[in-house]
């Protein structure tokens, strides 16, 4: 297929100021959303009890609620899960001493009324475990940022490093903002998706940076903006294709993968789309704004030849 006979010649950098402003506004908006609307944290983070059961045939939620209320669980949140015979029950973190028994009691409350219930899943997470995951998750994000920043400093230069990290923060924040708007459940798998996204999004940035470095050296007479434009144009097709294949598999996962990977796929799909934009208008843009010059990148000598496949 030959969509483009020639390398496109779009002047991406013409809108660079607009890009920077728009990105900043969106980032701030997303942060405000996360702060004020909050994320719909799953029990991995909040602690609590979750029980998934399936009945032999459709069941009225009111009946389930009634059964639970009789056993003393008035605060239970009951909802259908995929089918009208599958029910998901959530209980807030119990303040009572013996919270580990809650899952057993819930099951007994339901069992007493109907023997054909099959237990699909019980999760009980103590509040302290949730708190620990919170800080561990935050630390993980921080370490990932630092590791990537260090690697880019080592391979490129600090201005690129700043640009790349800005893009990663931007992407992560945008995804969190999206999850906040639609109140998609945020559990540990979602956190994993965000960490994976950070790697993926950075991939995009690196491809462009690599090309900028190559062009800065080969196109000695062009100005920095021209070189950046050329580089983005040269890599944009590849970006589109890669995003397309990634989106294809993620859509397959979203549609067929079931509930456990639902928020995982949503977070990544949003992230992949955002990453396309941010690799051009956040990371590259910022590196240019910080004044990347040819001298910054002059030869990490031509040792490449030896390392070829």
């Amino acid at each position: 297929m030959k969509f483009f006979a020639r390398v496109p010649k779009i002047n991406f950098m013409a809108q660079r100021k607009v890009g920077l402003v728009v990105s900043s506004i969106l980032t701030v908006a997303a942060i405000l959303l996360v702060v004020f609307r909050g994320l719909n944290f799953g029990i991995d983070f909040t602690g609590g009890v979750l029980v998934e059961v399936s009945y032999p045939k459709s069941v009225e939620l009111d009946k389930v609620r009634h059964d639970l209320a009789e056993a003393g669980y008035e605060r239970a949140i009951v909802q259908y899960f995929g089918a009208s015979s599958a029910v998901l029950i959530r209980l807030p973190p119990a303040s009572s001493e013996n919270s580990s028994q809650v899952s057993t009691h819930v099951l007994e409350a339901l069992h007493a009324k109907d023997n054909d219930i099959t237990l699909r899943r019980i999760e009980f997470v103590g509040p302290q475990i949730g708190e620990e995951l919170f800080s561990a998750g935050g630390l993980a994000l921080l370490f990932a940022f630092m590791g990537i920043a260090a690697y880019i400093m080592f391979r490129f230069e600090w201005k690129f490093s700043v640009g790349a990290i800005a893009a990663l923060v931007h992407d992560a924040v945008m995804v969190l903002g999206f999850l906040s708007i639609f109140q998609v459940e945020f559990d540990i798998t979602t956190l994993a998706a965000i960490l994976a996204l950070i790697g993926y999004s950075n991939n995009e940035t690196i491809v462009i940076f690599d090309r900028i470095r190559e062009n800065l050296i080969s196109e000695r007479r062009s100005g920095i903006l021209d070189v950046v434009n050329l580089s983005v144009n040269q890599t944009i097709l590849r970006s589109v294709i890669t995003h397309l294949t990634t989106l294809l598999v993620l859509t397959a996962l979203l549609v067929l993968g079931g509930s456990t990977v639902h928020s995982f796929s949503v977070a990544l799909i949003v992230g992949v789309i955002v990453a396309t934009y941010s690799s051009i208008y956040v990371s590259t843009n910022l590196a240019v704004a910080l004044g990347v010059s040819r001298e910054d990148l002059l030869p990490p000598k031509d040792k490449e030849v030896d390392e070829m496949p």
């Binding site: 994976a196 040269q234 990977v261």
Partner: protein, 617 residues
């Protein structure tokens, strides 16, 4: 086009063979089987196979295979109902020393197993089972230790005739008050001499109050010991559940993970994990135990018990010399002759009883009786739980009294392993610090099976979509990329199987995501080739330049994804770890297959042919 080195083709073929061989065990399926091992972890007796065969023969349950696999005796069956019957039968015939568990044994042929090829482990979210995270109550352990100071030290001071005027207990220390500083100093010396593990301080504002607390080292040792004891106790109890491949593992300072694949009944597991155990020191009665055991006539004032392991009968006197609640500490050590021994410390009451008993009974045997109370939950026809209590009472050691002793003494005449186990058991029985369940995850078998099915259909659809797209877009080169991707998947499965990594649902998601990312390397290369062609390069030159120029970019990009996965792995909750592992291994294998693999295919097809254009669009 430059010729492509032969060794690269050889490497590719080797990688393909390696991948196919080590991925193969995942496709053989399983036999329902019964898996037997000795609870003590020792090697099975030599005639074990005959005993199993005879027992099964009598009941008419012919196994399809029976023999040692990975250090355990595995009996395979054709049908699941035979497996269940055989497990019940073997449990009854072999007795409590053996752990009999149901399992699914892989049908992987012996020659594959011999070279270490095994199927991947499935995580609990895929095979069903329970996961518990237990937390040992450290505060309780410390509190007990301080209580011990409060009883022990005053007893010592009374013996040494040093008077104190008052005693108190704070959260972390015992405080003794003295009338003058001479007495305080005398007490300080006496305590330091007898209890090196205590830390003695006086506050400046209260110079006559001696604070006795645990040294940091000692506090840490006590907590460590308590957790280790609980671990041993839990392991023993879990073994009795008859679960194949249970996991009982320490996590951090004071947590214990228990994972039981295939178990659904969490109530029963919770009861079992929470069971309590004690032990008692008792005198062995003079009467003949063998006769009593044979006739059933138990002499007055005695009780009949059996030893653990070899089931020898003993008659023990009813009086308890010292019980589990008197036991303060136990550790394996060496005696004066250098032989293995267990050193035991009793509290003041226990020590007093022990002293007066041993004073009168030197040379006579004394027994250690282990008592465990288990709660077993069964369900009646209506599905209501019925809890039964079961008492396990066994003698774990009988030894002669060699001298008069009180607070601290040694039990000798054991092998070093026995000494170690006895020390653990003594502590386990007496001091099992309270545990709280802080996390529980149970996945029913139907959800596990659902997850596998969903994961695989999603992966298959993802692969198909990517393959169709690549072939439509890049023509023949798309085929090369798909070939490389397939090789990559085979290698990924092979490496995961070889490492015995655990496949979880997020792990499958990682594989699916990976398929999307892995072709990126090829996209980079192909777009580069197209670009070279647009710039007027000759076909062969364009192909070469495309591969060569894209190499470093791909490596750079992969390294940053790897950084993310390493961090994820370090963050470490089970299922997410599975995701990190699959993604990391996938990136490493794809760096090889996407570049070397797809290039070799391109070389094979085009190197020898004159080309007017490259069939890449």
């Amino acid at each position: 086009m430059k010729p492509y080195s032969t060794w690269k083709y050889v490497l590719l073929i080797a990688a393909l063979l390696f991948g196919l061989i080590y991925a193969a065990p995942n496709f053989y399926g399983d036999d329902p089987s019964v898996q037997i091992s000795l609870e003590s972890g020792d090697a099975l007796p030599a005639d074990f196979g005959d005993r199993v065969a005879a027992a099964l023969q009598d009941a008419g349950l012919a196994p399809s295979a029976s023999g040692v696999e990975n250090g355990q005796w595995v009996v395979r069956f054709d049908a699941a109902d035979r497996q269940l019957k055989a497990a019940d039968l073997l449990k009854e015939k072999l007795g409590r020393d053996y752990v009999v568990a149901l399992n699914l044994a892989s049908k992987t042929p012996a020659w594959l197993r011999a070279i270490g090829a095994r199927p991947m482990n499935l995580g609990l979210d895929l095979r069903g089972g329970v996961h518990f995270l237990l937390e040992v109550d450290i505060d309780e352990v410390r509190k007990k230790a301080v209580e011990r100071i409060v009883t022990e030290v005053p007893a010592l001071l009374r013996k040494e005739d040093i008077r104190y005027t008052g005693r108190r207990q704070t959260d972390s220390a015992a405080v003794l008050e003295f009338a003058d500083s001479e007495r305080l100093e005398a007490a300080r010396r006496a305590i330091a001499k007898n209890f090196a593990e205590y830390q003695l301080t006086t506050a400046p504002d209260a110079p006559l109050a001696l604070q006795i607390s645990l040294s940091d080292k000692e506090a840490k040792r006590i907590v460590d010991f308590a957790v280790q004891q609980n671990l041993t106790t839990l392991r023993n109890r879990v073994n009795q559940l008859g679960v194949a491949e249970p996991l009982v593992q320490r996590q951090g300072t004071n947590r214990i993970v228990v994972q039981l694949p295939g178990v659904q009944d969490t109530t029963r597991v919770k009861d079992l994990l929470g069971a309590t155990a004690t032990l008692e020191y008792r005198a062995v009665a003079d009467q003949d135990a063998a006769t009593a055991a044979a006739t059933g006539a138990i002499p007055a004032g005695t009780e009949l018990f059996y030893t653990r392991g070899d089931h020898r009968p003993y008659l023990l006197k009813r009086e308890v010399i010292a019980g589990g609640d008197n036991l303060v500490d136990a550790a394996s050590t060496v005696d004066e002759n250098g032989g293995p021994a267990v050193s035991v410390t009793l509290d003041a009451t226990g020590a007093k009883n022990m002293f007066s008993f041993t004073e009168k009974n030197v040379g006579k045997p004394m027994a250690v009786l282990f008592k465990e109370r288990e709660v077993i939950t069964n369900y009646n026809a209506k599905g209501e739980p019925i809890r039964e209590h079961r008492e396990v009472e066994e003698i774990i050691s009988v030894a002669s009294i060699r001298g008069v002793f009180g607070k601290r003494f040694q039990t000798t005449g054991l092998s070093s392993k026995e000494a170690h186990n006895l020390a653990l058991l003594l502590k386990a029985g007496a001091l099992a610090a309270p545990v709280d369940i802080v996390e529980e995850r149970t996945v029913g078998p139907s959800l596990g099976a659902d997850n596998i099915r969903k994961g695989f259909t999603a992966a298959a659809l993802g692969l198909t979509l990517v393959a169709i797209f690549m072939v439509l877009y890049y023509r023949v080169f798309g085929l090369f990329a798909v070939g490389a991707l397939l090789l990559n998947l085979v290698l990924l499965v092979a490496v995961l199987s070889l490492l015995q990594a655990t496949l979880t649902m997020p792990g499958i998601a990682g594989v699916v995501l990976h398929m999307g990312i892995a072709v990126d390397a090829n996209v980079l290369i192909y777009e580069r080739i197209r670009e070279e062609l647009r710039n007027g390069a000759k076909p062969h030159h364009a192909i070469e330049a495309g591969y060569e120029r894209a190499f470093l970019t791909i490596a750079d990009a992969n390294v940053t994804v790897l950084i993310g996965t390493v961090v994820l792995f370090a963050l470490g909750a089970g299922p997410v770890k599975g995701f990190a592992i699959t993604l990391a291994i996938g990136i490493l294998t794809s760096q090889f297959t996407a570049i070397v693999g797809s290039r070799a295919l391109a070389q094979l097809c085009f190197a020898k042919r004159p080309l007017r254009d490259v069939p890449i669009w």
